[in-house]
Every structure is written in C-alpha cells, then in structure tokens.
C-alpha cells in the first residue's frame, strides 16, 4: 500500500462501480435524455479512475454495490459527509435520488459508522456541498443543500462552517466549482458564487481562479490525495497552475459522467 502525503494515513474513499449507471431523468442542466451516456465507455472511464486513485494516488477504495433503479448512485460524493466514525447522511432534493438514501445508510452502518440524519425538512447532498478546507468546512447552498444543514454540520463536527451561496444552475454542487488544495488554498470558479461567497473565499484562502471554459469541463471536480490531483481532462490551465504549486495533476476522461453533471470528485466520497 502506498503511503500518501497527508500524514502517514492512507486516504480511504468510497466508490460505486457503474453497474446500473444511466440517464433516466433530467435534474440538472447537463442532463439531457437525448444525450445518454455510453454505458460501456462509462465503465471504462470509471475503471481508469479507480486505477489512478488506487495506484498513482495510493488511495484505498471501499465499494458499494449499485442498486438497480438508482442510476446516479455512482456519484457517491453525495451519499453524505464522513468524519471519524460519524456519517452525516444525505437527504436529496430530488425524489429520484432520495431512493439512494437507505442504501447509503445501510452501507455506513454496516461499515461501522454512526449514521445521523439531517433535521426534518432540511436538504443536504453530502460532500457534494460540503468540503473540508483547513480549519473550515466550506458549504454550498441554495441549489441542492439548504443552509439549515450548515448549522447541523457545525454542531455535529464542532467546526466552523462557511456558507457559500451558489448562483448558477450549471454548478449546482459546491464540488463542481470549488476544489480545496491543502489547508490554505482553493481553486474555484468565481462565477458560480454570489459576491458575498467570493469575498469569503478570497478572505480565507489563497485562490486559484478557474476559467469559464475549464469550469464547464468540471475542472474543480477533482480528487486531491496528498499532492496528486485527479481531475477531468481538458483543463490545461488549472493543470499548469497546479504544477507550478508543486501538485501532480493526473487527468482522466470523464465524458460519459459529465453527461449527468459529474466527474472524478462526484464519483468518490472521502472516508477519512
């Protein structure tokens, strides 16, 4: 097992192989029923990502089996938010994805996590809208998660939550437009945030601004493990910036998942 740079602890992530991945509904601007993913190609892309994460990045991957009728279950980042032995379970905005909740809950329980449900009526889409960055938990809201989930997370993890309003439907989750890079730095696409959130981000972090064309390629939807950053291909500017800062970008083709509005980060949930 390769040791990664964040301490001596192996990074563990949860993934879901695309056994029943498809496009059955439209719940974000990327999804179009007439532009369905090629499932074979999707499986290849997923396997490549799995390989990069386990070999190049040295992560340990735990798998959850995809349930038929939950085509988006591959996007495990939305299952919840995990820290230590605690898993905060998602409560999806769209009923189509709410079907995934009991399966994720069961997996967390079976794997030794104490599972907490969000307050009644409070939407929360897991790591999709909640990313630890240094001393803070950065949390997106308005498109999918409700701001009431921020108070809940702050209480559950005794941490400072910075609430960031998302303003563009194309970047409907925080992890589609913001990428924490270590404790003090983030890459982000400013146009996805309101002016207050942009101020908050710039106040608390050194920033790399992602350009529109790369933001549209989901450049920020990357998995950071130590100094390895696994991001969708077609984002040369961000890759160059990362290299300058000493990171090792590894790009992967994510075309079939981008059709559903997801990429490498959406396909992984951090477990530690």
């Amino acid at each position: 097992m390769t040791e990664v740079c964040t301490g001596n602890q192996t990074t563990r992530v949860m993934m879901c192989a695309p056994a029943h991945y498809s496009l059955e509904y439209e719940i974000n601007p990327w999804m179009r029923l007439e532009n369905r993913p090629d499932t074979e190609l999707a499986a290849e892309q997923w396997s490549k990502l799995y390989e990069v994460l386990t070999t190049e990045a040295g992560a340990e991957v735990s798998l959850i089996g995809q349930v038929e009728g939950c085509p988006d279950m591959v996007f495990t980042a939305n299952a919840g938010l995990v820290r230590g032995e605690i898993a905060l379970l998602a409560s999806f905005r769209h009923p189509q994805r709410a079907l995934e909740e009991p399966h994720f809950a069961e997996w967390f329980s079976q794997n030794g996590y104490t599972v907490y449900m969000p307050p009644t009526g409070c939407r929360f889409e897991g790591e999709g809208d909640a990313l630890f960055a240094g001393a803070n938990l950065l949390a997106g809201y308005l498109k999918r998660s409700d701001i009431c989930s921020h108070r809940w997370m702050a209480e559950m993890f005794s941490t400072t939550v910075l609430s960031l309003e998302l303003v563009d439907d194309r970047w409907y989750h925080l992890d589609t437009c913001l990428l924490p890079l270590g404790d003090n730095r983030v890459a982000f696409y400013p146009g996805a945030f309101d002016a207050y959130a942009q101020t908050v981000i710039r106040h608390h972090y050194e920033t790399i601004e992602v350009e529109l064309d790369e933001a549209l390629r989901f450049a920020c939807n990357a998995v950071v493990i130590g100094e390895t950053v696994v991001l969708p291909n077609g984002c040369p500017h961000l890759e160059a910036n990362l290299r300058k800062l000493g990171y090792k970008p590894v790009s992967v083709e994510m075309s079939e998942f981008l059709k559903s509005g997801g990429a490498s980060k959406c396909l992984t949930l951090l477990l530690n």
């Binding site: 809201y141 921020h150 108070r151 209480e155 400072t160 609430s163 309003e165 207050y196 101020t199």
Partner: protein, 405 residues
C-alpha cells in the same frame, strides 16, 4: 408598520450571511433592527442574531422574510406558554417578568400588544384573549400567566430623533448640562404633550417648599399645566403649613427666620386638615386658601399622596396602604406623556416603576444620586438634571405660557 422578529444563527459573520440578510432587507424596501447579537465564544461556536424586520406593508414583509429564509433566517412560530396562577397573588414559577419597553405577545398566531406596559409585572391572558400587564398582587388564582420568554417580543427604545426636544440630551446624568436649554426642551415637550392629548405628571418632594419654590409650582398648576400630582405626606403638609402659617418646617418662607415654636406648625397644619376631614373640605370651608394643594383642588388637578413609615399625622388624604397607593398611582399614569420628577427619590423611583419607557421623563434633584438611582431601578428613559429645584421651577414657570407668579 408590520414587523416580525426572526433569528439568524450559525457562522453568520465569517460567512457574511448577516451582511447579506441585512442587505436584502434594505434592498427590498424593509428595515432591520438587531435586537440581540451573541457572538460565538470560540471560533467554532455559532453566533446568534435576533433581527426585527419591518416593512411598509405586510406583502413586502412576507416577500422579505421569504427571501431571507433561504439564507437561514428562522421565523418564530412559537406562541407564548401560559400557566395558571396557583393562588391569588402568586405567579407560576418561571413567569415572564416585564420591562417597561413596548411588548407584544404571540397568541393564536397573532402578535398582541401588552398595553399599558409596566416593568416588573406579569403578563396575564384573560378570557377572550384580553392581555393585561398585572403586578403580582393583582393576579388571581387560575389567571393564565405567560411563562418563559417564548412568544414575547420586546421593542427596544428607538434612537432619538435629533429634532426631538429631548434629542440633544443624553440619558446620562450631568451637572454640566446647559440648564436653560434643558428647561426649554421640557417646555417644548409639555407643549407637544398638550398638542397630542397626552397628560403631564408632576412628582414632587418637600424640598420644593423648603427652598421657597412652592409658589412656582402653585402657579404652574393654576395655569393648568399639570394633570396629576404624585407626592407624599410631606409635600402636602409643608405646603399647607406655608398656606396656614407662612412657614416650612417652622422657618418663615419670607424672611428665613425660625419662628418660635415653629417646629410644631406642620403638626398643627395636619391637625387642622384632619379636623376638616380632607384637603378638599378644607378648601371648600375656607380654611385653606392658597398653595399647591389648594391649586390642585381649585383647578381639578388629580393628586395621589402616598404615605410612608415616617409620616406625621398623616393628612387624611394620604393613602397609608402602600399597595393601595401603588394602585392609585397606577390608575393615574394612563395617558401620561411627560413626567417631571422633582426633588424626591422615593416617589420618583416608585413612579418610574409604573411608567412605560415611552414617557418622556425628567428627573431634577440637587443630588446626582437620586437621578442615578432612578435609572438604576430600570427607568432608563429618564433624563437627569442636577440642580436646585427652586431654580428649575422658577425657570419653568417663567417659560410656560400663561403662568403668573
């Protein structure tokens, strides 16, 4: 203007959520007032803000609240908790203790004002939703009393309008305030009260007589400027002593000389009024022909004389049961817009306890302690002026229209 108190909590400073919410309120045509703000004690602790949002109309308020809710603003749906009083004169444990600030309670989904409001009382919901602010002794067994502060909304005193006659005065006590300006402001406040149908209350102590200022107060009352006078046995006694014998505590007002056996004069004055049966009877039978109390009777100015343990006599009009005296004063403060408290600590504090914070209150005393005590007991709206009461009343009499000294 419709308003609602909402709560915002979380890391609302670091996230700029509080700024955003305030900006939205203003942008959408509303106004906000942060009633309470508690900063998180540590970095990870959330902060809390209770914000009163107001808007020109209910539709705008609804729109603002709807817009701000998505940024975490929580609307209170909490109604007041009511618990029955266990005995006559006994409140349930945890009863809500009132302030003298404008107060509303949430009852059957609507905000109902508690009016008039008085500090250190309980809020009682009588049958048919009638809301009363009652002192402990007036509560009867079974009265439904507000417990805890859920569903209770208190509006802080508004920032003073700089054009207000009181506007230039701070609420702190000062010996260095330009006194003529203060008196001019009081005159303006009294004129305003008159114009708006508000009543004027005068609370006085016996030093008014000892300093020879009785004639100024008498003239002010004669000119109809005072609606109700609160005092004790002493003010009335020394006023009547002056009217009957020309002395105050045996000292001739005119010359300042002590009169032989003059120290008995106040007892003889009390005795004579007791002989008549009441101050009114003494005026009507011609025994009492001048003075402050005489002016009250002849002009129909109400008065409440509240007794104390050190009283001589007392005069027959003095109410010696303090609870009955409080209730008599309570019934007289309704509609009072201006309260002048001159040269008395005891009666000033007692009156301050009964007044809503909206009453313009001036406290005049040669001793700063009197003024400070009044504010320390919760009458924060009071303005203090440290000066001799004779100077004050002479100035006031000289400036009020229609006063002839």
């Amino acid at each position: 203007m419709p308003s609602e108190v909402v709560r915002l909590e979380g890391h609302i400073i670091d996230s700029l959520t509080l700024s955003k919410v305030m900006d939205i309120i203003l942008r959408e045509g509303g106004e906000y007032h942060i009633q309470r703000f508690a900063m998180g004690a540590t970095r990870s602790d959330p902060s809390h803000a209770d914000i009163e949002v107001s808007a020109p109309d209910a539709a705008t308020l609804d729109r603002i609240l709807h817009m701000t809710q998505q940024h975490g603003v929580q609307r209170s749906t909490g109604e007041v908790n009511l618990v029955a009083a266990p005995k006559d004169g006994v409140l349930p444990e945890g009863f809500y203790s009132t302030t003298n600030l404008p107060t509303r309670i949430r009852l059957d989904s609507t905000w109902t004002p508690v009016d008039p409001i008085e500090m250190d009382c309980a809020i009682v919901v009588k049958s048919e939703g009638i809301v009363e602010c009652l002192p402990m002794h007036r509560v009867v067994k079974g009265d439904r009393v507000v417990v805890g502060d859920q569903g209770v909304h208190v509006t802080p005193v508004e920032r003073r309008d700089p054009d207000d006659a009181f506007g230039f005065m701070g609420s702190e006590v000062s010996t260095e305030r330009p006194k003529a300006l203060v008196v001019a402001a009081i005159v303006q406040a009294m004129l305003d009260a008159r114009g708006q149908g508000g009543r004027i209350l005068f609370v006085g102590g016996p030093a008014i007589l000892h300093t020879g200022a009785g004639r100024f107060l008498e003239a002010i009352i004669k000119a109809g400027w005072i609606d109700v006078l609160f005092a004790g046995n002493a003010l009335a006694t020394h006023d009547i002593e002056r009217a009957l014998f020309g002395t105050s505590l045996g000292v001739e007002i005119a010359t300042g000389n002590s009169m032989a056996h003059g120290h008995e004069n106040h007892l003889r004055a009390i005795n004579r009024i007791r002989g008549c049966g009441s101050i009114r009877a003494a005026v009507e039978n011609g025994t009492l022909t001048s003075g402050i109390m005489h002016a009250c009777i002849t002009t129909g100015t109400d008065f409440v004389l509240a007794g104390s343990i050190r009283d001589d006599g007392p005069l027959p009009d003095v109410i010696t049961d303090t609870i009955k005296a409080q209730d008599a004063m309570r019934s007289q403060v309704k509609g009072v817009a201006v309260a002048l408290m001159v040269a008395t600590t005891l009666h000033s504090v007692a009156t301050g306890n009964l007044l809503p914070a909206s009453v313009r209150t001036l406290c005049v005393d040669s001793d700063a302690d009197s003024v400070i005590k009044l504010m320390d007991r919760g009458t924060h709206q009071a303005f203090g002026i440290v000066t001799d009461c004779e100077f004050f009343l002479k100035e006031l009499a000289g400036r009020l229209p229609g006063v002839e000294v």
